[in-house]
């Protein structure tokens, strides 16, 4: 289960599809070949997304994860 407090390091490792999903929203999880530090919520806020939008991203990421696990 992905939450907004997950670290980007864990997100990249456990849910690699998230990297492309977030890149499409303008959030780069990998810079200089390494995961950026901090949580998913912090990375989204850095790009100006509000709480509502972040919750929406988390919901979509979990849905994508469910589809991937089918």
């Amino acid at each position: 289960m992905i939450s907004k407090t997950i670290t980007i390091e864990d997100l990249v490792e456990e849910y690699p599809f998230s990297v492309q999903y977030l890149a499409d929203k303008g959030i780069r999880c990998i810079k200089c070949g390494e995961p950026i530090w901090g949580t998913l919520e912090e990375a989204c806020k850095e790009k100006g997304f509000d709480v509502e939008k972040i919750d929406f991203f988390v919901k979509e990421l979990n849905e994508l994860n469910e589809i991937n696990n089918l």
Partner: protein
């Protein structure tokens, strides 16, 4: 072809390795066991047990205690330990170089070069250990002596990146050690085994010389253990961080909040200027190493080539010819003759492909390469054909650093100042170069109106720095300087001393205070 199993055995790498050490001692930990795989063939090399917060705390306490002893050891004696570390690295150069190549993906020659860089900085530090000096100044007061001296600082946090997994540790720890500091090293999560191997190589030197436990510490840990809490730890006065600008900004904010110090070596967007007065064959040969060396994953990799319009076609055609040859030498970097290995992982492949797509969307044109390689020899999925793209400097993708082998060709017209202005018009400021045989152009490039980068070269490329000069850059590169020149000073605290050897008490600025 190298025998990697033999290499691992020689370096003492086992199937499951401990990831926390305070020098001679290694600690069993209960953090997550991480796997390290080679980008070359995708195979798991070995596993490493990572630290918990409790393990980290034990290491910091050990480091604090060690500092109290280590700072009392005379600097030349500390230098002697570093000399022996350099010799131990000489002994294991071939094996460690091979592991650097296998775990990181750079060609074997570059793996050996990385270990040589470690040896070189040890040699440099040994000499520096007898040259730590202060200055004597002139006091305005009679019979007063004014001087400055440097003292050890404390614990130095070192965060290294996967692209130079061990050399950057050596740059920092060799100087920190002779300065009387102790270090805590957090290696990249992508290359923990080279760190474990390095710590094992130096172990016998530490035992033979009774170096206190806690001078050279290694903590392999996830960002939840060795992240913000590490940076916020007030017991660590200085952090040296190599990584992305994003990580550097975060680190500077956290360390700055407690007024700690940082030495940041962050992203680059390095350009080579080729003027009509360049030796073009030399410019092409040199620049190609900068664009494709280490598969474009050096901080100093050449990202942009700014070419005068009058020679643009000639330079472009020469580059494409060189890339055609290189395209036949992409593959396992441990095989002699291959010049380009893999990028670190699938995410880097995607970043590369994304940049290839974006530059075209913004109006650029692909001149060569840009493909993802598949099939025999490329099973790991991490190999790409280095790309040359025609672009304009203001493109969003050109302003960013893509950590992969893509280079942007940009035309300029008029005099060299126009090229310099383009070169400087990016957020980063690490390395730069000009190819010209015209002394006016060369001197302008390195003058106060020239390159705004920390490194500005004439008739050689942007990458491949040697350890004698201070390394680092300006703007979003972070402003830090490490390795050579007077970089040792950042690892020490400066103290100003005024000594009154007279019988009177004159105040500075002639202030009278008679009781």
């Amino acid at each position: 072809m190298l025998d990697i199993q033999k290499t691992l055995k020689n370096l003492g790498i086992e199937n499951i390795n401990l990831g926390v050490s305070t020098g001679a001692e290694w600690f069993d930990t209960t953090g997550k066991t991480e796997s390290s795989s080679s980008p070359i063939d995708g195979k798991e090399i070995a596993q490493v047990k990572t630290a918990t917060l409790d393990d980290y705390e034990k290491v910091v306490q050990k480091a604090q205690a060690a500092f109290k002893e280590w700072r009392l050891v005379p600097a030349p004696v500390r230098g002697e330990i570093v000399r022996q570390i350099g010799n131990a690295l000489r002994e294991y150069k071939d094996d460690l170089g091979a592991l650097v190549s296998y775990e990181m993906g750079k060609v074997y020659q570059e793996g050996l070069g990385e270990v040589q860089e470690m040896i070189d900085i040890c040699d440099f530090a040994v000499g520096q250990s007898r040259l730590i000096n202060g200055v004597a100044l002139q006091s305005e007061r009679p019979q007063h002596r004014l001087s400055e001296q440097y003292h050890p600082l404390g614990i130095i946090g070192i965060v290294t990146s996967y692209n130079f997994p061990v050399a950057v540790w050596a740059w920092n720890s060799a100087l920190a050690a002779i300065a009387g500091d102790v270090v805590i090293w957090k290696p990249s999560s992508k290359t923990p085994l080279t760190a474990v191997a390095t710590q094992k190589i130096i172990r016998q030197v530490l035992i033979d010389n009774n170096v206190p436990e806690g001078v050279f510490n290694l903590v392999v840990g996830r960002s939840s253990v060795m992240g913000d809490n590490f940076l916020a730890d007030k017991r660590i006065p200085l952090f040296s961080i190599t990584g992305s600008t994003a990580v550097g900004k975060r680190a500077a904010e956290i360390v700055g909040r407690r007024l700690g110090n940082t030495l940041l070596e962050l992203g680059g967007n390095n350009a080579v200027i080729i003027t009509p007065e360049a030796d073009i064959p030399m410019a092409v040969m040199s620049t190609v190493f900068g664009t494709v060396g280490t598969a474009g994953q050096r901080c100093t990799s050449t990202r942009r080539v700014i070419i005068h319009e009058s020679i643009y076609n000639q330079v472009r055609d020469s580059f494409v010819k060189a890339y055609e040859k290189i395209a036949t030498k992409i593959g396992n970097p441990l095989v002699d003759g291959n010049l380009v290995g893999p990028v670190i992982d699938v995410h880097s492949v995607n970043a590369f492909l994304d940049a290839v797509k974006k530059v075209q969307e913004e109006g650029g044109k692909i001149l060569f390469g840009g493909q993802h390689l598949e099939g025999k020899g490329y099973e790991s999925g991490n190999y790409v054909v280095p790309c040359i793209a025609e672009a304009e400097n203001h493109y969003h993708i050109v302003q960013e650093e893509t950590f992969a082998p893509i280079v942007y060709f940009i035309k300029y017209s008029g005099d060299v100042q126009n090229a310099i202005d383009l070169q400087n018009d990016v957020p980063q400021g690490l390395s730069s170069a000009i190819f010209t045989l015209n002394v006016r152009e060369a001197e302008t490039f390195i003058s106060q109106t020239g390159s705004d980068c920390g490194i500005a070269n004439v008739n050689l490329g942007t990458s491949g720095a040697e350890i004698g000069g201070a390394f680092g850059g300006e703007k979003e590169t972070g402003g830090g300087r490490e390795s050579g020149s007077d970089a040792w000073k950042i690892y020490m605290r400066r103290q100003t001393n005024t000594i009154n050897y007279g019988t009177k008490l004159p105040l500075a600025q002639g202030i009278k205070f008679d009781i």
